[in-house]
Symmetry: C2
Subunit: 412 residues, 2 copies
């Protein structure tokens, strides 16, 4: 299948592009490298030393003989997007090309406006481009489980049957997103559903949970293919950050009580879910929604699992409760459905001790790149503007502890 | 009360500004005159010869001694908006300052993107400005009944209690908007609800129905105060257009079967609803939703009422069913609640023959300004780009008929 991956240089995008290429698909990547730019702007970097995309793609070709075409540009530029799609004629477009951090969107007004305009306009452009240039193409769009918020009823996959005053209808599931970023995804979802309805487009909106892990079968082939592994407060996701904190001897920082429960999945399942969606396209006019996660955990459960795994590696990992920087329920009901991808063949990689182990060992390997100042939240939802101050880095852990870890990858 | 009316030079905005001023409030208008610009761009004009805002405001002052301050600028420019609100310190902000036409948003990609960016960024700026500069200020935001679409269950006012799998919650009512414009209002609603939740702002989201009429008590005082009366396919609303069509002897153009049912209200009720919302502000942290309309009609019912009224004025008014330019259900269930404004004291002006009569006579009075080419829809929802071609105007009606109408205002 001819598949274009928008945002294919990012965390999920890169892993997906490689996986689809490995599975024999014709893959192209469209990216404007804004994710790398934001790292510079925020003064942070991924734990892992990621290589330029040209080098990544060349290594992949050298190793596998498979070519991934790279097109550089910004999908908010319609002329660029349209001419690119006209040339590529993809059968599926996987759309990761959005600003995807909640804290980033909450820094201040400019970041909120940028996030919503960037994401909404990119997706609108894509809908118009598909309508005009490749109306049969299947849009596989990354949404987020965060679109639903934490309602006191079960979360369904995109739509809910409502009985009300003796009548019944199937309606879009009500959305209660928790940041200007999550709101941008809700805006996208409404726009996509409408475009499918009026133009007969086909779309799958993947409401993805929190992704963890960095390795996939393809990425493990060579260090040049290494994927992002973000741990900073803005772009780091919670399980990844906890593993790195535990690995370097920093307290595991839980926001508030830690009862915040969310859906999670291994990045190896992300890439598989995307292929499943591509291979089973939505019908013309259909806007299908899959909840893309495999397990639910509270933040405190995640912290405790990481703590246990760390202790087995001989590392003391204290759990530290920080004043919650976000405005969210710290204890709530959470039961989100996620059977549609399983029905289509997903075999989940459930969170395991060996995975936590592997993540901590990656952290130990790249310990020199850890900047513990980036662990702590500086973006508070309650403030209309947050100034992220550059804090001096403090040593990550005592030297003997690190020496032990580096020797034999910290296993006992 | 100190009230700023954003978009106070527009159709509802101007009538509202005058009404609030007449009722003794301190009123300021913020407007960038984009509504007037769009008329030039589309090659259309309001039936009524509206005067420049400075002249309108001067006449109002001369007549009543009441001053309305005018500030010219664009609320998508945050520096302008923030400095203006810092100076005005309003207690209520009435926000009409959005692109409000569904067909305009459906012309092509650029108009869709413009509508969503303009509306979403303007409202985001306003939320940040209120948070930073006047956090106690009450935002009275114009939404639309079109946010809900036409679900097969009763439409509630903003929120719905859902019982699902043995549990219950009150959630935002699911939205199924029918154009990129209506989608922009849904995006706004989600953004406003979130801002109220995290920042404790107070907001009233008024989901307004289709407004008809042009006169209010204040506007009737002097012709210089005359309000817009749009009949073109892009900015004209259905009842107003039908009255003008009937008045000039043009067939009443119903899109499709005409079973499309919507909520309607008289502009005299619009202005009253706004004052009621201002005088009864939402609590801190509350995002309250009122459905602002007084009666529901199908398009065909409206057409038939206008036809009957026209016949009483001696005018033949044929009903013509056009191929539907929009993608919408032509027959559907529709039962939308609208009791909250009534509970707060709204006394509706129900649609009457005398109102239809008055509208047709205004049309007859300004018959020389009617361009019948602007009646017909040129924007089709199914097309990703619509070229609005300038059509030659055809004479509106036969001369004898018009002479009759002009004489004695067409009454018999």
């Amino acid at each position: 299948m001819n598949i274009s991956v928008l945002g294919g240089d990012g965390y999920c995008g890169w892993a997906t592009a490689l996986h689809l290429s490995a599975r024999g698909h014709k893959v192209s990547i469209i990216d404007n490298f804004s994710r790398r730019l934001w790292d510079y702007q925020l003064g942070v970097q991924t734990l892992t030393p990621i290589r330029p995309l040209t080098e990544r793609v060349k290594t992949w070709r050298d190793l596998t003989g498979k070519n991934i075409e790279v097109i550089t540009g910004d999908i908010t530029d319609y002329e660029f997007l349209a001419s690119t799609l006209a040339t590529l004629s993809p059968e599926s477009i996987v759309h990761f090309a959005e600003q995807r951090s909640a804290p980033y969107s909450m820094i201040d007004r400019q970041h909120a406006v940028f996030t919503q305009v960037n994401n909404v306009v990119g997706t609108l452009n894509l809908l118009f481009a598909i309508r005009e240039l490749c109306p049969d193409c299947h849009l596989v769009k990354l949404g987020t489980m965060g679109e639903y918020g934490t309602p006191n009823i079960d979360i369904e996959e995109g739509y809910i049957t409502i009985e009300h005053n003796g009548r019944k209808d199937v309606l879009p599931y009500p959305k209660q997103p928790g940041s200007f970023y999550h709101l941008s995804k809700v805006h996208d979802s409404h726009n996509i559903l409408f475009a499918c309805r009026i133009w007969g487009l086909r779309a799958t909106d993947l409401n993805q949970g929190v992704v963890y892990g960095t390795l996939t079968d393809e990425i493990e082939l060579d260090e040049t293919l290494i994927n992002r592994f973000d741990y900073d407060e803005v772009f780091g996701t919670v399980l990844n950050r906890f593993c790195i904190q535990a690995a370097v001897g920093h307290p595991i920082t839980v926001y508030g009580k830690g009862g915040q429960t969310r859906g999670y999945l291994d990045i190896r399942d992300t890439v598989r879910c995307i292929e499943i969606a591509c291979l089973n396209p939505a019908a013309r006019g259909e806007c299908r929604v899959f909840n893309q996660f495999t397990e639910s955990f509270s933040v405190l459960q995640i912290a405790e699992m990481v703590q246990t795994a760390a202790q087995k590696l001989g590392r003391k990992a204290e759990i530290q409760h920080l004043p919650p920087p976000r405005v969210e329920l710290e204890e709530h009901y959470y039961n989100a459905k996620h059977s549609k991808l399983i029905d289509l063949g997903l075999k989940p990689h459930y969170l395991s001790e060996s995975l936590l182990d592997s993540l901590m060992n990656i952290a130990i390997r790249y310990r020199d790149r850890v900047d513990t100042a980036n662990f702590l939240p500086q973006v508070n939802w309650r403030n209309p503007r947050n100034e992220r101050r550059r804090q001096e880095s403090v040593p990550a852990a005592s030297e003997p502890e690190m020496a032990l870890a580096a020797d034999g990858q910290g296993r006992r």
